[in-house]
Symmetry: C2
Subunit: 747 residues, 2 copies
């Protein structure tokens, strides 16, 4: 349910601010906030509210004290409530009555402390909502808005202005990030501690920052999001305009458990978050350190128009380390063009390497750096340049920094290609590094971090090039035409009837029928209880057919006791593995071509089952069409969905059986799927080249597979009483895609 976007201007750009609970003492929150406000040079009017001081007619930090919130002017933009928890609700009621437009509540002791705190927080939220007041917090560290010189926080330190906006669910991360950023001389446009997110959450802040002209890149830290659908909608909209980087704590199962222990919230699965970020254009980072490196690059550099990275270095080792990092990224190391090579050969001494990495030798001075950099920037194969400098005896870090700045920001870079630097070492290159940073050229400690940042720029560029806008909501309806497979309400009736019967799972023929009605490409299948029935069904369906043992027991057991399941393909020379032998060992007979074969298969399967697992309940055999099935070289795939508590249906796609899960080669997306999402799901798995016919694989109809995924997405959306579905195996070959097995799970 998308909310009405709230006007956050009174919060981020207030014309006047009241500090409720202002104090003279820096040991108190109310003192820290007031002194931060004044020290940052806020130019609007400031009202310190402190009854005792007002009673004594005293000033607080040279401002006349206000006796109570009741005496504040009506319609004030922002009140920073620095009071202890016990006093917050009463004062907030008065602020609401006065028409104060925004409030920041700093006190902790609300939702995070249990039931009573939760109720107090709900009351706080109601007060703000009823008054149409913007509420940040509670349990927030406050907010910094460098554009209007506002520091309404009790954080320590004043960040300088810049293009990075940061928001965080964790106050601790705010403190640490601010401290780090100041030592890196990183500038911020806005800095927001979300706290408990009673009203204003990451989605609302994202929308504001997306429209904020002072913000170039948005960086967020979260443990959970409040509303998955609204977050995706906001992020999808904003990420088309500017890069959004997110560090999600709890990106592993163990981390997610720690999040639950910490916030008490039922969070979505790590896979669902990953899919949500990707589908809404958010760049997810996995480690805290990356946030800084990436933010600096995005805040200062243009995007590269392609993957070609030129590495310019005065020493071999660091150049090689950068090349290694490049090989682990989406970037490439193009060979310089002939023109560039001959230009470089003119510039460089005899033993230098003009190839990429371009090693201009340890004795390279600023001039050689500049000429080589200009030559590389002029090369059409180069989309970005990384300048490496090691403080050799003859290196001139400061002077080189100056020429790099001139070349990168001047006429030698007419194409506005991004330039990053890595000056190796610490003290010996400090001055050069600071010059670069100050001039907006990000400079890294290690080559790997520099390549990682340029890689992120390129990945973002690639995303912005996609025509198709990402999905805008996780619970909206599919865009028209996204799934053109037929839909029969029979699918709903089958599922509802099963639910009425109290079933928790639908499998076998029934599940295949539901899937068929939902527009999925299902093999015609019938259940035969006797061999005669099997023969009749085979005639109805049309020969050839396959026979499989049918048992209502859950899947894995069936696979295991029929002894079937695994068998990896050959393909080596000179050999071959007896795939054709002993069909009765498989729990199935494939491609039976006549009545006798069908009868024999039925008896063989059921008698073997009775012999090996007399306790199993065997309902008979499934008789399944076998026309058009892919032969050797085809694939057994799996597609399905589970329902994520935060983001709704999470689709998955991979190889059937064991290998996919074991090898972690599964792709995920959230419903509703766009055709582009479906395409990406196929391309993302490592075995994708096989589907395109690599190394003897069948060329599979990707269109048919995409259609299948879109149909699964629609099924998940139309039948909310399904908590999950698995279609396995999905047989795919050049002649089409066929579902041979299905299981639907009911809520």
């Amino acid at each position: 349910m998308p909310q009405q976007p709230r006007d956050l201007k009174p919060l981020f750009e207030p014309a006047a601010v009241a500090v409720v609970g202002a104090s003279r003492s820096q040991a108190k929150v109310g003192g820290l906030v007031l002194s931060n406000l004044l020290e940052a040079g806020y130019r609007g009017r400031v009202y310190p509210v402190n009854p005792a001081a007002a009673l004594q007619g005293k000033d607080i930090m040279d401002l006349p004290a206000v006796a109570s919130v009741a005496e504040l002017p009506d319609g004030l933009d922002l009140a920073v409530v620095c009071l202890p928890r016990e006093q917050v609700l009463a004062e907030m009621r008065i602020l609401a009555a006065k028409g104060v437009r925004a409030a920041i509540v700093l006190a902790a002791g609300f939702r995070e402390t249990g039931r009573l705190g939760f109720e107090a927080e709900m009351e706080l939220k109601r007060i703000a909502q009823d008054a149409g007041m913007v509420l940040l917090g509670p349990n927030s560290l406050g907010l910094i808005s460098t554009g209007c010189a506002l520091n309404a926080s009790f954080a320590i330190g004043q960040p300088k202005p810049g293009g990075v906006a940061f928001f965080s669910q964790s106050g601790a991360m705010c403190v640490a990030v601010l401290d780090w950023a100041m030592s890196l001389n990183m500038g911020f446009s806005r800095f927001v501690s979300l706290g408990n997110k009673a009203l204003i959450d990451e989605s609302a802040v994202l929308r504001y920052l997306g429209a904020d002209p002072e913000t170039r890149v948005i960086v967020g830290y979260c443990e959970s999001v409040e509303d998955g659908g609204e977050f995706m909608a906001a992020a999808a909209e904003v990420s088309t305009r500017k890069p959004v980087l997110m560090l999600k704590a709890g990106s592993t199962a163990a981390g997610a458990r720690a999040v639950s222990a910490h916030t008490g919230a039922i969070s979505g699965s790590p896979a669902a978050y990953r899919a949500a970020f990707r589908q809404s254009g958010v760049l997810q980072v996995d480690e805290a350190e990356q946030l800084f490196g990436l933010a600096q690059a995005f805040a200062t550099q243009p995007l590269p128009a392609g993957p070609g990275l030129a590495i310019l270095t005065n020493s071999g080792g660091p150049g090689i380390l950068a090349a290694d990092a490049c090989a682990r990224s989406a970037l490439t190391l193009p060979r310089p063009s002939t023109a560039t090579l001959s230009r470089l050969t003119e510039i460089l001494p005899g033993f230098a390497s003009a190839y990429n990495p371009v090693d201009i030798m340890g004795d390279a001075g600023p001039q050689r750096y500049r000429e080589a950099l200009a030559a590389l920037l002029a090369d059409s194969q180069t989309h970005a340049v990384l300048v490496l400098l090691t403080p050799t005896a003859l290196a001139q870090a400061e002077a080189t920094a100056r020429t790099v700045i001139e070349a990168a920001n001047g006429e030698e870079n007419p194409g506005k290609k991004p330039v990053a630097a890595c000056f190796m070492g610490r003290e010996a290159v400090r001055a050069g590094r600071e010059l670069l940073q100050a001039a907006g050229i990000p400079c890294y400690d290690f080559p790997e971090a520099a390549v990682e940042a340029l890689d992120a720029l390129y990945l973002h560029f690639r995303r912005t090039q996609k025509q198709q806008p990402p999905a805008t909501s996780c619970d909206g309806e599919l865009s028209r035409g996204a799934c053109d497979a037929p839909w029969d309400e029979e699918a709903r009736y089958i599922v509802e009837a099963a639910k009425t019967r109290g079933l928790i799972e639908i499998s076998g023929v029934e599940a295949l029928e539901a899937a068929h009605a939902a527009g999925l490409p299902v093999l015609t299948t019938g259940l035969a209880r006797t061999s005669a029935e099997a023969v009749r069904l085979a005639e109805e369906i049309g020969l050839p057919v396959s026979l499989h043992l049918a048992t209502p027991e859950p899947g894995p057991a069936a696979g295991a006791w029929t002894g079937g399941g695994i068998g990896f393909g050959g393909g080596g020379a000179g050999g071959g593995f007896g795939g054709g032998g002993d069909p009765e060992a498989l729990g199935r007979f494939a491609r039976l071509r006549d009545e006798a074969g069908v009868r024999h298969a039925f008896l063989a399967l059921t008698s073997r089952a009775a012999r090996l697992r007399p306790e199993a309940y065997v309902t008979g055999c499934l008789v399944q069409a076998a026309t058009g099935l892919p032969g050797q070289g085809g694939f057994e795939l799996v597609a399905g969905f589970t329902r994520d508590p935060q983001f709704g249906p999470l689709l998955s796609f991979g190889l059937a059986g064991v290998s996919s899960e074991l090898l972690g080669d599964v792709s995920h997306r959230l419903a509703p799927l766009t055709p582009e999402d479906a395409r990406e799901m196929l391309r993302e798995v490592r075995f994708y080249p096989l589907l395109r016919g690599a190394r003897g694989g069948s060329v599979v109809s990707l269109a048919a597979l995409e259609r299948l995924l879109l149909s699964v997405s629609r099924l998940a959306q139309r039948l909310p009483m399904l908590v999950g579905a698995e279609f396995s195996p999905v047989l795919a070959g050049p002649d089409g895609v066929f579902i041979a097995g299905a299981r639907l799970t009911l809520g």
Copy 2:
């Protein structure tokens, strides 16, 4: 060919040092070296050699100048040769004649500059070798030995003493590492710039450092090693005594190409280096930054006796990030014991989480940190503790650092469990961090880096626990009993005969015969040119048999045009893929049980081949035994070797066909394989659980597979004229392991 270990004492601990080419000017290398020597406080005698100064009777830096190297005392320990390249050889001859025991040659312009330089370097090496002189360089930055206050380098800065020894092939990396380390206050025992490694290489230095009582951990940077076998021998010996960390530049294919461009050396493959490091107990790191974090932990902390990590934190977010990092490592997050939980509950306020991560809340002062740390250190499930601190308003970084030091280094840590810290932020925690570092508790900027370092300690512990010593040489003979399969010299005759005939590859029956003679478990196979021959062979071999098309064309084509190759296993419920149909599509017939079947199969295969690929040269069909073959649920594997230029035979193991290579799921080891190596090769692939019967896989005889790998290793060693071999498919099931196809490549 292992060299005689050289005595490096005159180099690292000289009683007296001559600086040849000493200068008063710090702008000259000879001046930098002399002033570094004096500044470091070297206590031995120093002889500055400078003819001009001596002629004028002048002192150099308060030392009487020596007129020429001829006037130096005989048998001097160390000469640092700071002369330009042109003068080096002549002076080195005199130094050699004077019996100087060790020399460092700083000048560049040798091997790295082309043929003339290479010849000069060979001459330099001869001079040193003939005189039994230890030679470091040329093209070295020099050497630092803090134990005897020796700084014989022109690097800038004096590192403080400590337990870390560093050596590097790249002077640039030396400069950068030294600069970084000084800003991190990291101490070194020895610091060595290897330069061109004309004589003293990484192996010689490793052996010295292994025996050096002042060195606790050895850290190296290399682009290539000089002698693969000798390096492995040295590393294997040393790594049993102390940890060896290596950053290998060129760990990717692109990086390896950059190494070749830089050093001109033909280096081994990245996979071979990875295997060499692993088999000799070296911990390979992939990024420069990791070197520092890991070295600090190894230099100061004991090894954890298990994987259990307790995370102690004053804020949720960083704790979760640490838990995420832990999930990506080999460490675990055990739940504290009941006793620990009740102790923690006593200590902690109401809302704190006593589970792991243990969140002691933002208002935690030093006392609460100390008590919680003591409780965790006392827990038998805890093998290591990570202390996280975020500079919240109430956090006391310095005081907390002090209590952490007391607890970790005192009575509260009787089990000597390793403790690491991460104090988040920069300025706000600087003092606390410095206290920790100074007291030998590594303190990291980010939680992920801290977990990574503790993980490395644990991995090293696990390695030291292995009873089996690693292989000691890559060209020695297998230890007795490692490969007990029979060996028939027929294998050698087949390969030699093929070489005589000018063949570059042996395949088909011949390759299988050679493999059989080499003790590999090969399916009995014959080549039939006619259907009658096929029937006769089938009778000889014994029914059932399989038939395969035989063509001398290289493997992949054969796989592709028979349309066979790929087919991933099913295993999903309710479905099944027609593995039994259309055998003629496969280019093979499996498990033929009678004469008619064999005859039919022969005709079907050859006529189909003639129809589809009339240009192909078909020699007939291979008739292969099919008794005892695994049925569905078995595996098609591949094993083989290639010959690495640096490290010799590199064995590989994976799934046959396409999946393994595509999914990067291949394990590598260098020959000779120990039984332990063979076991690890099996356990290292991601599909290993399938071989143990997971999810319907056949339980494969691991002993048989290990035996196979040991036999391949022996084959690679006994027949050096083979440049490679591939055995594929290797059919593995409960009844055994059978090679159905082989290809041997000749040099």
